[in-house]
């Protein structure tokens, strides 16, 4: 084919300030698209920008009316306050961040260690009422945390898991295992079972075959799944609020929320803590973005 219509159009003088239009007569549409997307981006990103701005403003500027967008003095005091107690030593917030790391990390590892082999088993073996079992497993995710938090609270009180990091770890893992099983089953289904068959004929046991041949091929899927689980545990608020109370155990979400209220609220500190809280998730999501897309389109699509 020769030059197509839109190429011919886009080589015209308009080329410098509009991106090549996809179809003849669609330049107007693409302007509208860009405009709408810009509006959307502003609406979506403004709170984030405002949060970042607030975190680097001095308290005076935070409360200024009219609000100051650009002409304020930059300070990193709030970030210092996130980590260092005004009286010296570690701040309560920094402890809660550490708790978050431990709780989210351990619960994700737990969910992965339990969920991946389970997904493999559901994918490879003839299990009685497989579909029903899988549906049951998924159904545990249907219930929003607020609905189950009271019974969980009562049960935890019986066994002494209230205000205990282990308690949070267990409940997060329990919430993430079904998700891990479902997502990983999609990935395992994609790996031909013949690899394991061949390995077993080569002299390996079934488990060795899984560990040495299927598992390495699952790493991208595991990474994507684990990041999803990690994000869930990291962000979780309801359980963390109800099941923990002391500063030593609290995770970051309730700790940050706890800064709001009382007689005065140090918005600069809240904003700085929120930025610090959001960063790890962003970094992780960025690192595995390719797998995340693969995970969403491949692992999550059921046949």
């Amino acid at each position: 084919m020769a030059v197509s219509v839109d190429e011919a159009v886009s080589t015209g003088p308009a080329r410098d300030h509009t991106p090549p239009a996809r179809r003849l007569g669609s330049r107007g549409r693409s302007v509208l698209e860009v405009a709408l997307l810009t509006v959307l981006a502003v609406v979506m990103l403004f709170p984030v920008l405002w949060m970042i701005e607030t975190s680097i403003k001095e308290n005076r500027d935070v409360y200024a009316i009219p609000a100051k967008f650009f002409d304020f003095k930059v300070t990193l005091d709030h970030y210092k306050d996130v980590f260092v107690d005004p009286g010296g030593g570690r701040s309560a917030l920094s402890v809660s961040f550490l708790n978050s790391v431990v709780v989210a990390g351990v619960s994700t590892v737990l969910a992965t260690v339990l969920g991946v082999p389970a997904a493999w088993a559901y994918s490879r073996f003839a299990v009685k009422a497989k579909k029903d079992q899988l549906f049951f497993i998924l159904s545990t995710r249907f219930m929003p945390p607020v609905v189950v938090v009271i019974p969980i609270f009562l049960m935890y009180r019986q066994v002494g898991l209230i205000d205990n990091k282990l308690g949070l770890i267990l409940i997060y893992a329990a919430f993430n295992v079904p998700f891990t099983i479902w997502m990983m089953k999609g990935f395992v289904d994609e790996v031909p079972a013949e690899y394991e068959d061949a390995a077993m004929l080569d002299g390996y046991t079934r488990l060795q075959a899984f560990r040495r041949f299927t598992l390495p091929l699952l790493v991208p899927g595991i990474a994507a799944t684990a990041v999803f689980a990690l994000i869930f545990s990291w962000n979780e608020f309801v359980f963390a609020t109800f099941l923990t109370s002391s500063d030593d155990v609290r995770t970051a979400p309730p700790a940050i929320a706890g800064l709001i209220g009382g007689t005065t609220t140090d918005w600069g500190l809240v904003a700085a803590a929120s930025v610090v809280f959001a960063l790890p998730v962003l970094v992780f999501a960025y690192l595995v973005r390719k797998h995340l897309i693969a995970g969403v389109t491949l692992g999550a699509v059921r046949r």
């Binding site: 003839a126 009685k128 031909p192 013949e194 690899y195 068959d197 061949a198 390995a199 077993m200 004929l201 080569d202 002299g203 390996y204 046991t205 079934r206 041949f213 390495p216 091929l217």
Partner: protein
């Protein structure tokens, strides 16, 4: 090497599908045994049961003198080549070949030596440092075969190993496999649904249908005297003409008047079908000696031969194989003559060979 004995094999999958109804096989040491049958007849299931990848519901499997029913695949000392080659994607050819040996814990120099030997046999020298992704389909197939070879197993199982190759390569690989099997004196069970592959490779062929063995025999036996109507319709391209006949005056006579030599000892009152190969018939000029009237429906020129489809006695699908020099136009009135010997005769009701 060792023979394989399969007796009264029955396999029912957990979902209730009966994949193998009843299969008895006795495969000799050093034999190239082909299992042939249409899709879904249970070939793969039988093979996987022999390999130990699938546990049979009932029945016994022996490899050599060992009853292997309860042995895991690893302990059966068998190699299998899959239709999908199952080369480990993250390993180079060299390591793909070495893997089964490392699993056995062979010392390094020996592994090296065996890998090189298999690579030489399958001419893989230049491919040793590539990953499966970097190999063509035919090359992957050769690597898969080599991987089966390195272990020097007691038997080879092949599940449609050539299906993914194009026609020409397939013919080459067929020759190669046959040659290799002869050279190694290997026991080999080869599954295919391609009858040309079966005929050209097999010492013996088992024809499977719906989880049962319909016939076991040499390619010639299977071709000449198919044991059932199913086999008759399955083997040969085009397959046998199955013509309804009746016994009259010591002859077999079709509705259109075609007369065939009857095998001895036929009962009169049965409804019979004669299996006549296309090459046992001849299209002649109308009114030629011993011919019956027929009409050409169509002709397929295949270059080295012509397949005539003729209308005879109310059937419009009688196929005749003729040399390319004999030409009749479509719709021409012609004669049809039987030139072969005694045909195979089947009972319509039991669908089995009568004589």
């Amino acid at each position: 090497m060792a023979g394989i004995e399969v007796s009264a094999l029955h396999k029912r999958y957990p979902d209730g599908t009966v994949a193998v109804e009843h299969v008895d096989l006795s495969i000799g040491d050093g034999e190239l045994f082909v299992m042939l049958g249409p899709s879904g007849c249970g070939k793969t299931t039988t093979l996987r049961a022999i390999a130990g990848l699938e546990r049979q519901t009932t029945g016994d499997i022996r490899i050599g003198d060992t009853l292997v029913n309860d042995l895991p695949p690893a302990e059966r000392d068998i190699a299998m080549v899959f239709q999908f080659y199952a080369l480990y994607p993250h390993l180079k050819t060299r390591d793909n070949l070495a893997f089964p040996l490392r699993a056995e814990g062979l010392p390094k120099p020996e592994v090296h030596e065996r890998v090189n030997e298999a690579a030489r046999l399958m001419r893989l020298g230049p491919l040793l440092d590539r990953r499966p992704r970097q190999l063509s389909g035919g090359e992957q197939q050769r690597v898969a075969l080599a991987r089966a070879l390195v272990r020097r197993p007691r038997a080879f199982l092949m599940d449609e190993p050539l299906t993914n190759l194009d026609a020409e390569l397939r013919a080459d690989m067929r020759t190669e496999i046959k040659h290799l099997q002869g050279e190694l004196g290997a026991t080999m069970v080869y599954v295919t649904h391609d009858q040309v592959e079966a005929m050209s490779l097999g010492h013996r062929i088992a024809i499977l249908n719906k989880g049962r063995v319909e016939q076991i025999g040499t390619p010639l036996e299977v071709y000449d005297r198919p044991a059932s109507l199913f086999c008759a319709a399955f083997i040969g391209s085009p397959p046998m003409n199955l013509i309804e006949v009746e016994v009259a005056d010591g002859q077999l006579r079709s509705q259109g008047g075609l007369v065939l030599t009857p095998p001895p000892g036929l009962a009169r009152d049965r409804r019979l079908v004669a299996g006549v190969r296309p090459e046992a018939l001849e299209v002649t000029d109308p009114g030629a000696e011993r011919s019956v009237p027929a009409r050409v429906v169509s002709a397929e020129w295949l270059g080295d031969e012509i397949i005539y489809v003729v209308d005879h006695g109310g059937r419009r699908d009688v196929r005749v194989r003729m040399p390319p020099t004999v030409r009749f136009a479509a719709d021409a009135k012609v004669g049809l003559r039987h030139t072969g010997g005694t045909p195979a005769v089947y009972d319509v009701r039991t669908e089995e060979l009568v004589a």
